[in-house]
């Protein structure tokens, strides 16, 4: 398995706030990674730098060995980087099927793809994520977990090599969270998509979901390792709960 993504000493400032401070890490193909860290630790900024919504002030981002730091988001999507949003953002006035078909049309396999083919791919993916029977429903009318699954389906339709999941399970019941996590694992196994997800608080999910965990704090990578090592590490406990008096 080769290296898929490499982030090299990336920094990003917003005015006086340092959101990312020389962050470096790399992701191998086929990995399931969770990036954790409290609110404001720089996870979302890191995601936005990787998918091109934000340009870093310093540092480079490499995808499959290619420097993509200057590429716009749509060009990165064509190379195979897809993402979901923390608060799901399906296109509410379009049907579930249309939402997913747009993913197929404009994803990395979308060039020259016909509308009929995109719709049929979308129908298959609807089954994979378990949204059968919802194809014609307008996306805005779905429940919150269903919207999350739709975002996942839309991202899969884009045929990414790297899937960035922003808070896959925040605010979900344990049952819904498990359903989403299982679907993500299934997607990784069936499609060979590398998954990097950020998780703010739900440590139970991190343990269940990730093979490697990266902990962020105040714009830096605090440490990384297996879920077992990381979640018990005193530094991580300190970051989340503060120092014992």
């Amino acid at each position: 398995m080769g290296e898929l993504l490499r982030v090299e000493s990336v920094s990003k400032r917003f005015g006086g706030v340092v959101a990312l401070d020389k962050v470096s890490f790399s992701v191998d193909e086929g990995e399931l990674i969770a990036i954790i860290g409290p609110n404001g630790s720089g996870k979302t900024t890191l995601f936005n730098v990787i998918n091109g919504i934000l340009k870093p002030d310093e540092g480079r981002v490499y995808f499959l060995g290619r420097d993509i730091t200057g590429l716009p988001p749509y060009a990165r999507v064509r190379l195979g980087i897809a993402r979901t949003f923390q608060v799901p953002r399906p296109w509410p006035g379009l049907s579930v099927l249309e939402n997913i078909a747009i993913g197929a049309l404009f994803g990395s396999g979308g060039r020259g793809l016909g509308v009929a083919e995109a719709l049929s791919q979308a129908r298959n993916i609807i089954r994979v994520v378990g949204l059968e029977g919802k194809a014609e429903v307008l996306a805005g009318q779905l429940t919150a977990p269903e919207k999350k699954l739709l975002e996942l389906a839309r991202a899969i339709a884009m045929k990414p090599r790297l899937l960035l999941l922003d808070e896959i399970v925040a605010g979900m019941s344990p049952k819904d969270a498990d359903r989403v996590v299982d679907t993500v694992r299934k997607v990784r196994d069936e499609y060979g998509i590398t998954v990097v997800s950020m998780v703010e608080h739900v440590m139970r999910v991190v343990a269940r979901f990730a093979e490697r965990v990266i902990v962020m704090h105040q714009g830096r990578i605090l440490l990384e390792g297996s879920p077992h090592e990381v979640l018990r590490h005193p530094k991580v406990v300190e970051v989340y709960l503060g120092v014992a008096p």
């Binding site: 919504i53 749509y74 953002r89 296109w91 747009i102 404009f106 020259g112």
Partner: protein
């Protein structure tokens, strides 16, 4: 796209059929109802205005308050062609050449304005486009170019080109037939866009532009493309309506912001982003206008009440009610309540 997407083509023809049928009915009424052909032509003008405006506003959600500038660009473009041919000859060539120059000028204006203003969102875009329209108007009047504030009178030149009788035909039936043709082109263009990847991209932009951008859609490219297509159709409409049919292109008329407002009203009434919406919008708008001017206003005036602009007073509460009760417009409301099989048809 290298290969033709037959599925998209078939879908777009299916979608266009109801709107094309309505225009055919209007065409039959144009010839069949004596003395009402100009009322039909007026409905047609506003339907095409809505149709052309809708390609951009309905599909992207951006409101171009300076839209009438495209109509003006087309009207001036058509006149320029006539002035170029005048003295040289060329006969009926003035119509295709005029429409071509109208389209080129409107497309250039759209490309130029779009490349700058489409970087702005929402109200900022709307305000910037008003500035474009007013700016162009004062440019023409202030620099005294293209006839300045007096405008261009091209009746004489058209008569020289195709003779008195030729002109009589060109400015009446032929102009109206070309307008019907333009309506068909506008419908087919809209349905084709809606059924291909461009339509999917534009709808995604309308629903959530940031999500569209993050998910691989080159939003700037599609917005500018839609803006240019909408602008070209508007340009052709302005050329046919003022230059060919009217024979006069005056800044006070062709840059009149009222037309933009009317386009918005028609699209909102009928349903933004739908194919049938602009037709119903125009029918309601002109129907109301006609009823109040021809039937209600004379009654009030005989009672000593001056009733100019009465239709606007009637229209305002109707528009408010539609926006509150059915924000997607009449066709949009029917469509969202209809079962999905019917939804395919009512677009």
């Amino acid at each position: 796209m290298t290969v033709i997407d037959w599925f998209a083509l078939r879908t777009s023809l299916k979608r266009a059929a109801p709107a094309l049928a309505l225009y055919t009915i209007l065409l039959i009424l144009y010839f069949a109802v004596p003395g009402k052909s100009q009322l039909i032509a007026q409905i047609l003008f506003y339907a095409v205005l809505g149709q052309a405006f809708n390609i951009f506003m309905g599909m992207t959600g951006y409101v171009d308050f300076g839209y009438v500038a495209f109509l003006a660009a087309g009207a001036y473009g058509f006149s320029i062609a006539i002035l170029l041919l005048s003295g040289v000859g060329g006969g009926w060539m003035f119509i295709p050449l005029g429409l071509l120059i109208a389209a080129i000028i409107a497309a250039s204006l759209a490309g130029l304005v779009g490349a700058i203003a489409l970087r702005l969102r929402g109200a900022y875009f709307a305000i910037a486009t008003i500035g474009v329209n007013e700016g162009l108007r004062y440019l023409v009047e202030g620099l005294n170019i293209l006839g300045g504030s007096i405008g261009l009178y091209i009746v004489k030149d058209m008569k020289e080109l195709v003779g008195r009788e030729g002109y009589q035909l060109a400015a009446t039936t032929l102009a109206d037939m070309l307008m019907f043709l333009l309506a068909g082109v506008a419908v087919l263009t809209t349905s084709l866009i809606l059924s291909t990847r461009m339509g999917f991209a534009l709808q995604a932009i309308r629903e959530d532009e940031d999500a569209a951008r993050a998910l691989g859609i080159n939003v700037t490219k599609y917005k500018i493309a839609a803006f240019m297509i909408s602008g070209v159709l508007g340009g052709a409409l302005g050329a046919l309506n003022w230059a060919l049919k009217g024979g006069v292109v005056e800044p006070a008329q062709v840059f009149l912001i009222l037309y933009t407002v009317e386009a918005i009203v028609i699209v909102m009434l009928g349903g933004a982003g739908t194919l049938l919406g602009p037709i119903f919008g125009a029918l309601i708008y002109i129907g109301l206008n006609f009823t109040s001017n021809v039937y209600i206003a004379p009654v009030l005036e005989s009672a000593g009440i001056k009733a100019t602009g009465l239709h606007l007073i009637i229209l305002a509460p109707i528009l408010l009610a539609v926006i509150i009760a059915a924000p997607q417009g009449l066709v949009g409301a029917i469509r969202s309540r209809a079962p999905s099989r019917l939804r395919e048809i009512v677009v």
